[in-house]
């Protein structure tokens, strides 16, 4: 099965019933398949006029209770930024798939990249926290897309599937589970205000049509949802809550593999670079090379680095000029950090990454 198809199948298994999108290489197969499959299951597929509209449509659909999703690449992702901030501010659960390609601008439409890792976290204006999952296999594309819906609903935050052309267009064997866990968003309870948080910092959801009076706005608002744009305390309380409801749970939701935790030289990867590192470990079994692979990169689970108690060097291969390596570097406690950037469209070869290990001897 192709990675992009596994993304659709995972979404459908998780109950996705609305897709609003605009096809763009290399994510197009996702829109194509959703157009074929969703209507047959009673869901809705809309091809929007552009990516601003795509993002708006999934926000609106989500407020009617839908599990909504869009998929895009490259410039399409940039066009979604304003409404992504709106989804953050209005606490709208939704899933945004980004099959990353080479940028900036139209860049390399058919080639692989991981250049948008900061954009999914900091791309929209204002302080915010978001969640991003990153698959390294077609199997994980299925599983993590499904998981993204649960995370989006639990935290009421846009959740990103930050894949790339390599995994999106690769075909490999996957095992489809009989059932995918679906954890629905919690409803607003009687007597609570629509934006009044529970203990976990997340308010119950006042779905449109469920009888609640609810006002949804991107302006700074109070717990009723009414704009209050000049009171510093209201703004601070709201934006800190939106940030902390995600960031405070970063270790609880961390999803990763940690291999050879006694190693001194440790690779930290996300996405397809994990495949290359696994090959390096396989080809050099006697050498005790550590590998931390993150399936959730935002919020960044820095405690996972502490599992490698003997670590002297962290090597971070990425398909960009060095993005997540900055996040690694700011959480080190004296270890050396080596960035292994690669752009141009191809993933690192095992030989390239092994040379980085040899250089640390």
């Amino acid at each position: 099965m192709q990675g992009n198809r596994a993304c659709c199948e995972g979404a459908l298994a998780a109950g996705c019933n609305f897709f609003g999108g605009y096809p763009i290489t290399p994510s197009t197969e996702i829109a194509e398949l959703m157009a074929l499959k969703l209507p047959k299951r009673g869901g809705t597929f809309i091809q929007m006029e552009d990516e601003l509209g795509s993002m708006g449509s999934i926000i609106g659909a989500s407020w009617t209770g839908a599990r909504s999703m869009t998929a895009t690449s490259g410039p399409g992702f940039s066009l979604m930024m304003e409404n992504i901030g709106y989804a953050v501010m209005t606490e709208t659960p939704c899933v945004v798939v980004n099959i990353q390609r080479g940028g900036p601008s139209t860049g390399q439409p058919t080639m692989s990249a991981q250049g948008d890792m900061m954009q999914c976290r900091f791309g929209s204006h204002g302080d915010m926290a978001t969640i991003a999952v990153v698959p390294s296999t077609v199997q994980e594309m299925y599983e993590l897309t499904a998981k993204a819906f649960n995370l989006a609903d639990r935290f009421r935050v846009p959740t990103f599937v930050m894949s790339d052309e390599t995994i999106g267009h690769m075909r490999e064997k996957i095992v489809i589970p009989d059932k995918v866990d679906i954890v629905p968003r919690k409803p607003l309870l009687e007597g609570k205000l629509p934006f009044e948080p529970d203990e976990d910092g997340v308010p119950g959801f006042a779905q449109f049509g469920s009888g609640h009076r609810v006002h949804v706005t991107g302006l700074t608002h109070d717990e009723r949802g009414y704009p209050d744009t000049t009171d510093p305390e209201v703004h601070e309380k709201l934006v800190k809550r939106l940030y902390n409801k995600v960031e405070s749970k970063r270790h609880e939701i961390a999803d990763y593999d940690a291999v050879n935790t006694e190693a001194e030289t440790v690779f930290i990867t996300y996405g397809p670079c994990a495949r290359t590192v696994r090959q390096v470990l396989h080809d050099h079994p006697g050498e005790c090379i550590g590998h931390l692979n993150l399936r959730i990169v935002w919020p960044f689970p820095e405690d996972t680095m502490k599992l490698f108690t003997n670590a002297k060097t962290f090597i971070v291969p990425e398909l960009n000029l060095g993005q997540m390596v900055r996040e690694v570097a700011r959480h080190t406690t004296g270890e050396k950090v080596v960035s292994m950037p690669k752009i141009g469209g191809h993933i690192h070869t095992p030989a390239e990454l092994y040379r980085a290990v040899e250089a640390e001897r």
Partner: protein
């Protein structure tokens, strides 16, 4: 054992479909692991198109090809771009009508396009002739596995034509 199979030809010959079918045969009917990738760009409408399979008994870690051991080349441009530097211990199947050059490595000439045009009546199944020849020449998957994968992958109504092409390929690959 890890096999890396590279397919090249011009866009429209079904070079990518060939790799998809072979990967499917290995992964679903051959009890192996397979990863299929391709160069993905404007060459899909002409030019030198390339696709690849990695097939292994073990789960596949690195998904791309680094040093193919099997080449299937169906155009001269494909040979120039992807086949000319084939390592000496590799095995190459070339479409003898469309590829003029020959590599340093062991080369099997398969008149796939000629067969498809003249004996099968449709040039479009040349890639299936090549797939059949590949299977009997290398044994990378079984004849039964590739047959089932072909039947999964071709449009309804063309099963007999594609099976005839595959079986002709089996014969050519055995020679």
């Amino acid at each position: 054992m890890r096999h890396e199979i590279l397919f090249s030809g011009f866009g429209g010959q079904g070079v990518i479909l060939s790799a998809v079918i072979l990967g499917r045969a290995a992964a679903l009917y051959g009890n192996k692991y397979a990863v299929q990738t391709q160069t993905y760009g404007p060459e899909a409408r002409g030019g030198a198109s390339m696709s690849a399979d990695v097939i292994d008994d073990e789960p596949i870690l690195y998904p791309k090809i680094t040093s193919p051991d099997i080449y299937v080349i169906m155009s001269q441009q494909g040979f120039d771009k992807y086949g000319a530097d084939a390592p000496e211990d590799a095995l190459m199947l070339v479409d003898s009508e469309l590829v003029r050059s020959r590599p340093e490595c062991t080369c099997i000439e398969i008149p796939a396009t000629t067969e498809a045009k003249e004996n099968l009546g449709r040039v479009i199944v040349a890639n299936i002739v090549m797939l059949g020849a590949l299977v009997t020449a290398t044994g990378v998957v079984s004849e039964d596995a590739i047959e089932r994968a072909v039947l999964d992958s071709v449009p309804k109504g063309t099963e007999d034509l594609n099976l005839a092409a595959l079986h002709r390929g089996f014969e050519l690959g055995r020679q």
